[in-house]
Amino acid sequence: MNLFSPLWLSVQLALVTTAVLLLIGTPIAWWLSRTSSRFQPVIQTIVAMPIVLPPTVLGFYLLVLLGPDGAIGSWWVQLTGSALTFSFSGLVIASCIYSLPFAVQPMQNAFEALPQQMLERSRTLGASRLDMFFSVAAPLSLRGFVGAMVLSFAHTLGEFGVVLMVGGNIPGETRVISIAIYDHVETLNYAAAHRMSLVLLAFAFITLFVMFAVNRRWSSR
């Protein structure tokens, strides 16, 4: 139980984050790949920033913004009665920001590789924009979607710094596996730290291995 509840919490967090990122990341990636707007480089830069920023910067801003006195947090308190910091919902928001580039970039690459002619042809045959996306673009970009999902999931699973700063280490709510491992190392409980780390190590290997294996098969086709 002690071993699996933080792991299960991490998996839940990663699954919810991946689902949310697929929903909001897809339109962003599509827009970035298709637009000729002069704001494109700016938006692209903003989306990529979590790759470069240390988790402490994100954690600091989130702590201030999501708290009960913060811009987003106070609004959330009015809506739900509780604050976003120290809560699972808060961690989902934090993870979505933290993993956004890992969802957007693979999809954007896939969309950019789509043959322009084919998309135009489907439009001239009378397909609506939405229809064109779901019947033509999406199936051809499957690899991008899989890449986005695997990377968002894996990156969220490995999240530590941001959670440390806005999580508050609450069992079953915000004590994810990376925090639990940290606690075990701190309390010299190296045996438990080894067990959890090994589980995470195996998990990371399997996730990435499956992605690369699938990618290889697709590209050899």
Partner: protein, 246 residues
């Protein structure tokens, strides 16, 4: 491959380290006090002291794994004892340099003790009782005084006393149980209430120091340890909100 010699040169040069300087590993709650003590020690002896701060558990792990610290100022007595037993501390150098005290601190509550009883008063921040000595003492006080039942459901845990305070100082937690020494930080916003927890309400927080066995500068390290016990140093320690050991 051609640039390898140049890269190697960078490795060899590195940041210049003064030979007779000390690096002390300090539990985060004592960082500011240690910096002031380091400054005094430098003024007295000319020996440079660099302060490296972290949680007691992290610093302990660093020392066991060969970190180049000369003196370790922990937030408890357990880790120094372990280092002594495993031979990572110079024998006979362990002593209590300060005794910790706890306080309640809030940014918005009018009555500190009232918040502990009130189920709807928001989060109560404390350092993680498993990893931080001040967290363990805080929990012991809450249990002994009958608050734990009401507090445990809305407790949030900082990695150390400093982070717990920061949760409350940013308004994310209503109240914090924190090391009294941290309340002397000048940049801290004005409190709506503070309350000193009686030191009898928990097992004494004995902050102990050891000279690290692998120190490359054993004389200066021992001089610094002796300096911590001097009247001048004890005055600084007391001014930072610590009780003094006998």
């Amino acid at each position: 491959m051609r640039c390898t010699p140049i890269l190697l040169m960078f490795l060899l040069v590195g940041p210049a380290a003064a030979d007779d300087s000390l690096i002390i590993a300090v539990a985060s709650n004592f960082t500011r006090t240690a910096s002031e003590l380091a400054e005094r020690f430098r003024a007295d002896t000319g020996t440079e002291v660099r302060v490296s701060s972290g949680s007691t558990g992290t610093l302990y792990a660093h020392i066991v794994n060969g970190a180049p610290y000369d003196v370790f100022l922990a937030a408890d007595s357990e880790r120094p004892k372990l280092l002594e037993a495993s031979g990572h501390a110079a024998p006979g150098t362990r002593f209590t340099y300060a005794q910790g005290a706890l306080a309640l601190w809030s940014l918005k509550a009018p009555d500190c003790l009232g918040v502990l009883r009130d189920d709807d008063a928001g989060y109560v921040a404390l350092a993680n009782p498993l990893t931080a000595p001040y967290g363990a003492a805080a929990k012991e006080f809450l249990e002994g005084a009958g608050y734990w039942g009401a507090v445990s459901k809305r407790a949030v845990y900082g990695e150390n006393a400093m982070q717990a305070l920061q949760f409350a100082a940013t308004g994310n937690a209503t109240i914090v149980l924190v090391a009294r020494s941290l309340l002397t930080i000048s940049s801290l916003p004005r409190a709506s209430c503070t309350w000193n927890v009686p030191t009898e309400a928990h097992a004494p927080i004995l902050q102990q120091a050891v000279v690290v066995a692998s120190t490359s500068n054993v004389d200066a390290a021992r001089r610094f340890a002796a300096f911590l016990r001097s009247d001048a140093a004890r005055e600084v320690i007391e001014n930072h909100g610590y009780e003094l050991p006998e």
